[in-house]
Amino acid sequence: MSKPIITRTEVHEFEYEIRDHNPVDFIYEPGSVYIGRGTALRIHTDIGVSGEYVTRGLAGAPMLSTTAPWVVD
């Protein structure tokens, strides 16, 4: 197999509903609905194989705007 070359990276921020849980204080809060935020990352290569990771929170997103372009070969 040839060594893959990174051709493209994608960073996505997305929202989802969090029910019955206060995500700020990490407490049970029946009936509540909060907007959760997540970060999704996809790294593409020239051979069609891609790497993915999705996690809650946007803490990494600001730095990904710097580092995600940097890993493209």
Binding site: E10, Y53, G60, P69
Partner: protein, 323 residues
């Protein structure tokens, strides 16, 4: 992919400012490597642990009827988790916890299930003073707690204070969740300020966690991973010196980890009922992280982001990859 070179280069560049800028990319690169070699990440790491013992790591205490609203409510939930098969239970006390409340909770849980499961206390830096931390730590001593974690408002940063605390109580301390990057975490151990090391793949990536695990092993101590997820499972499967997978946050009224995004198409989940009868979870066996993401959901709920191709990066030779 030269993950190690990318890791070292980004470390040089970011210098600890934001390790999630390294961690998330590193995990995606490991997922890529696993798919390239058609193997789960833990196999690439030489892993061998197929079942990971879990601890029930509670929501923060609340004041809601039927919730974790009293020392007895925490004891009831610990009993429930023991009966479900959990070998360990960690209390997250109230955000406004007083030492009196915390001590009562430690005794209530210790009296109910002590000796039958490992017990931990994680006030999440909620106590105001060092003296509060000492008082509550002595209650942990009386109940034989397995560890005592991030007790007070120094936010887990002071090596001096935690060395003093270790001298005043017997319960092992678990610090360094809030200490960023490899070297300062190890310095915490060398300063006699913690008994366990703490790390999260989201901060520093799988590469960073495996370095931390090796550092802990070289010092003869254990690394405990923070929080739950497929990257955590893949790492822990390849780490001998790690005791428990953190099933966090669990609550008697909630089956799933409600704060986690619903992004798995594959049959992967974390939650109170995710354990087997022995209190363990398994490690995903598919290539890479071993999970399939629901990209339709992600893209349908997308609020921002960007795509980068060749030429998108800042062309500053100072920030090139290391030689």
């Amino acid at each position: 992919m030269e993950r190690e070179k990318i890791y070292q280069s980004l470390k040089l560049w970011l210098k600890g400012r934001a390790w999630q800028g390294i961690g998330l990319i590193d995990i995606a690169l490991w997922d890529l490597a696993g798919k390239y070699y058609d193997a789960p990440i833990y196999e690439l790491l030489g892993g061998y642990r197929k079942k990971l013992p879990c601890y029930a790591s509670t929501h923060v205490g609340d004041y809601i009827k039927g919730g974790l609203n009293s020392p007895e409510a925490f004891a009831d939930f610990a009993q429930q988790c023991l009966e479900m098969g959990y070998p360990a239970f960690k209390i997250h006390e109230w955000r406004d916890v007083t030492p009196k409340q915390g001590i009562a909770t430690i005794h209530a849980v210790g009296k109910r299930v002590g000796g039958k499961m490992d017990l931990m206390s994680d006030p999440a830096n909620s106590y105001n003073t060092f003296a509060d931390a000492v008082k509550v730590g002595r209650a942990c001593d009386e109940e034989g707690f397995f560890w005592y974690e991030d007790p007070y408002l120094d936010c887990g940063h002071s090596q001096f204070a935690h060395r003093k605390l270790r001298q005043l109580i017997k319960t092992p301390l678990l610090l360094t969740e809030h200490v960023t990057s490899l070297e300062p975490k190890v310095d915490f151990v060398l300063a006699d300020a913690t008994d366990f090391l703490r790390g999260d793949p989201n901060d520093g990536g799988i590469t960073g966690i495996m370095k931390l695990a090796s550092a802990a092993e070289a010092l003869g101590i254990d690394l405990e991973l923070h929080a739950a997820g497929p990257a955590h499972r893949q790492c822990m499967a390849a780490i001998r010196n790690s005791n428990y997978y953190e099933m966090f946050p669990v609550h008697p009224k909630l089956k799933t980890l409600s704060y986690s995004p619903p992004v798995y198409k594959s049959n992967y989940w974390d939650g109170l009922d995710a354990i087997d009868k022995d209190g363990c979870v398994t490690v995903p066996e598919g290539p890479g992280l071993g999970v399939e993401y629901d990209w339709d959901f992600i893209m349908k709920h997308r609020t921002g982001g960007a795509e980068y191709k060749e030429g998108s990066a800042i062309k500053n030779p100072r920030f090139g990859r290391i030689k």
